[in-house]
Point group: C2
Chain length 213, copies 2
DNA sequence: CGGGTCTCTGTGATAAAGTCACTGATATCC
DNA sequence: GGATATCAGTGACTTTATCACAGAGACCCG
């Protein structure tokens, strides 16, 4: 599959109005990559060689503890880059987290050398990368606050509201726990409480929101 | 006080070998600022207008919860910039955290416009800022993991080892709690346990490490 | 169809951590 | 030398996490 500059700008509006060559350079040196849902993209400690611009699908970036518990740091969607790639490439570090696809994902990959050059030459590219990196930093800082000070019932409540689609969320308690950084039992118990309070309806592989205010 | 390019490069070796004009530009437009210990530099939500390069002293960047508990995200020392400034300037956000000086701090401040231009023009400046930003992101991600999965006794143990100077740490239980994101009572109790185990000696305003392995 | 095997969920007991409400102990300041 | 402020200790209780199971539903396959 090939992408036109027009399609690219539609997805990545930060590049609108770029002086001609940038997007051309970017697309001509880009590779296209299609990854199935559930694929493991990289692990903590891996080195990285290319940067990915996500066209479609979602990616989950998470940390793991020794006990096996997980916590989601943030998700990457269409119109974003996997900024950890950028961060690794530009700072020469290895990945500080893990990433997995949540759905089938299509992305454009750009070799790190080309990417480095583009960041140097183009103000828009620079600004795009800085903004995304800054945003992630702010996101993760907010997560620290939530984890350190937030109560689990509140966090679960917000999670259900945010993640549900038309009042329904199809997932398992284990997956919710993995996003929130807690254990399955805790999620099960809290959902049961919510159900007793008439806020949700719990069934196998799904939670239906009744009234969460 | 005025700083020579030589002194600057000694503190910020990432700029060694910069093509002449960069450091000159930077220093000629820089302001010098001296701040006493304990001063509040900025709060969550503030806008920012200049970037600071720290010459001497340490700055603590932290988050606060509604209950009044605090947690330190990271500290900034000599030879580093307050990267949140950069991130705000380049991404147009407001501060996502609070900052306070831990000691008397001297720093060079550079107006955001000049800074923007330098990042655009100079490869070394760009690389310096990216590296620091990436490093902070990795730091804060590691903190999420610690807070979400780590045990308090382990965290306190590591903290004491890292922060102590010649086996002694002069601080209050409250300050330790503020760094770790827990409450004073928890720190007091854990320290008491450590003392019973013969690992430390606790006294008012100080902890002496006996044997922490 | 029926039995075996997964995956998902529920629950009790216990341990770790945070909260609340105090008390006591040590400095510090007129 | 007391008044005041700061710092630390403690019991009781709540919230979370962990461990060890037990069922319940889905799915496969002869």
């Amino acid at each position: 599959m090939q992408m036109t500059p027009n399609e690219f700008v539609k997805l990545f509006p930060a590049f609108r109005g770029s002086d001609g060559s940038l997007i051309g350079d970017l697309l001509s040196s880009a590779g296209f990559r299609s990854v199935p849902a559930g694929a493991h993209l990289y692990s903590e400690g891996d080195a990285c060689s290319a940067i990915a611009f996500v066209i479609s699908g979602d990616i989950r970036v998470y940390k793991t503890g020794q006990t096996g518990r997980e916590i989601t740091l943030y998700e990457i969607g269409p119109g974003e880059t996997c900024i950890l790639n950028a961060s690794c490439i530009l700072a020469g570090q290895s990945y500080p987290a893990n990433a997995v696809t949540l759905s089938d994902v299509e992305m454009i990959t750009i070799p790190s050398g080309i990417f480095r050059r583009l960041v140097g030459e183009d103000e828009r590219m620079r600004s795009f990368v800085f903004s995304l990196l800054s945003e992630r930093l702010a996101d993760v800082m907010a997560l620290v606050e939530e984890v350190a000070f937030g109560r689990m019932d509140m966090r679960l409540n917000e999670y259900l509201v945010e993640k549900s689609d038309h009042g329904r969320l199809e997932t398992t308690h284990q997956k919710i726990a993995n996003d929130l950084g807690t254990s399955r039992e805790v999620v099960s118990r809290l959902l049961k409480d919510f159900e007793r309070q008439g806020k949700v309806k719990v069934s196998r592989n799904a939670v239906d929101i009744v009234d969460m205010r």
